[in-house]
């Protein structure tokens, strides 16, 4: 069974839409570095997904006794959990993107997470949970999480920032039953605390910055632009 990815993008973004600089804008579709937040996050997740699928191919090749039920169950997928504004968001996503619709998204992130996990748990060995409002988490960080999970398959691989354990996070299968119990506005933070001795945490300072308001998004956009400019200058100097 493959490692699958769930991108949570079901929330209503009330604080975002209700902010004084916003005219009821949809958070998932707000612009970040020229793309919408949801498109940007998918782009950051794609290298990790590609690596997982390369790995699935090699394992299938090496294992003569592998019992293939269907191609779909062997391939790692990026699932997108939608709730609020799904009619406006889904047309913008790449064709054939598997969508998970949460019926209970109004009740909070715990409910949408539980709903999403219920739908993909039966054919996942691990789930990488990513959020749509952490745009400064880089593709390198997602890849490091995946690498670490491959080498420590029985551990939860979480993100650490200032001693906080945060998403993105990878859960092995034996935690799915607890995750589907989540409710309301409570995410998986408590679960991470409860199983501290089974968590490997990888530092990513930018993970603590999440998008609540358009002002925060603008600030994060500036951070990202500065970073890109800095890298370019570095490249110019070194060449």
């Amino acid at each position: 069974m493959p490692v699958n990815i769930i991108l949570l993008a079901a929330g209503a973004g009330k604080r975002f839409a209700g902010s004084k600089n916003s005219k009821g804008d949809i958070k998932q579709l707000a612009k970040f570095q020229g793309a919408t937040l949801i498109e940007h996050t998918i782009e950051q997740l794609n290298p990790a997904l590609a690596q997982l699928n390369q790995l699935n191919q090699t394992t299938v090749h090496n294992d003569d006794n592998a019992n293939h039920t269907s191609d779909n169950n062997e391939k790692s997928q990026l699932y997108i959990s939608l709730g609020a504004h799904q009619d406006k968001i889904s047309p913008l996503l790449p064709k054939n993107t598997p969508l998970l619709t949460s019926r209970h998204w109004q009740k909070g992130i715990g409910h949408s997470l539980a709903d999403a996990i219920k739908q993909v748990a039966p054919f996942s060995s691990h789930l990488l949970i990513a959020l749509v409002d952490q745009p400064l988490v880089t593709q390198q960080h997602y890849q490091t999480l995946v690498n670490t999970s491959l080498l420590h398959p029985d551990k939860i691989i979480a993100t650490r920032s200032d001693d906080l354990l945060l998403p993105p996070v990878i859960f092995p299968k034996d935690f799915f039953p607890e995750l589907v119990q989540l409710q309301g506005d409570i995410g998986a933070a408590k679960l991470l605390k409860r199983h501290k001795n089974r968590v490997i945490s990888l530092q990513c300072d930018m993970a603590k910055l999440d998008v609540d308001t358009p002002e925060q998004l603008a600030e994060m956009n500036n951070i990202a632009t500065e970073k890109i400019t800095a890298t370019r200058e570095h490249l110019v100097i070194s060449t």
Binding site: Q51, Q54, L55, T58, Q140, Q143, T144, N147, T148, L150, L151, H152, I200, L202
Partner: protein, 162 residues
């Protein structure tokens, strides 16, 4: 991007090609069973297998092992029941333990090459692995015990008894 197979898993690393393999293992992949000792290839604490051969990961750039197979102490046996690990437990080899994963990786590479090594062969092969606690006698005894063990039978027995 550097591709490398570590403990049978295909890994893609986005790191400086000059990064020592040891740092990639410990800092990027959280495989912390392999230890940093001297950083100069002199003490053996960082020993891992490259395609089955013992190498010092602290002086090996990650780019030098691209597309090859690395085994660390974590990957020696899925249940930590490699015949060398079993012998190590039987003889209670470690004292402080710091050098031991390197010792075990060297011993396992030796036995893969020389099934029944003589005292001199053990001394020659293991001389690059230093132990400050001086557990050398037990190391040698454990290697001999592992060499004489029927690997499959012994491992099956241990697995059955678990």
């Amino acid at each position: 991007m550097i591709n490398v197979t570590i403990n049978k898993k295909a890994i893609e690393l986005d790191v400086d090609p000059q990064m020592p393999l040891l740092y990639a293992l410990r800092d990027e992949l959280q495989l912390t069973g392999t230890k940093f000792g001297c950083g100069a290839g002199q003490c053996g604490a960082c020993t891992v297998h490259l395609n089955g051969q013992a190498i010092r990961s602290c002086i090996t750039p990650i780019s030098a092992v691209a597309n090859q197979k690395i085994t660390t102490i974590e990957g020696l046996d899925e249940h930590n029941n490699d015949k060398v690990q079993i012998a190590w437990r039987e003889y209670k080899v470690p004292q402080c333990g710091y050098c031991q994963s390197g010792q075990i990786m060297s011993a396992s590479a030796l036995l893969a090459k020389t099934a029944n090594p003589s005292d001199k062969q053990i001394d020659d092969f293991m001389q690059g692995n230093i132990c400050r606690c001086g557990t050398y006698k037990r190391i040698k005894a454990a290697i001999k015990s592992a060499a004489n063990s029927e690997p499959s039978a012994n491992e099956t027995l241990v697995k059955e008894n678990r």
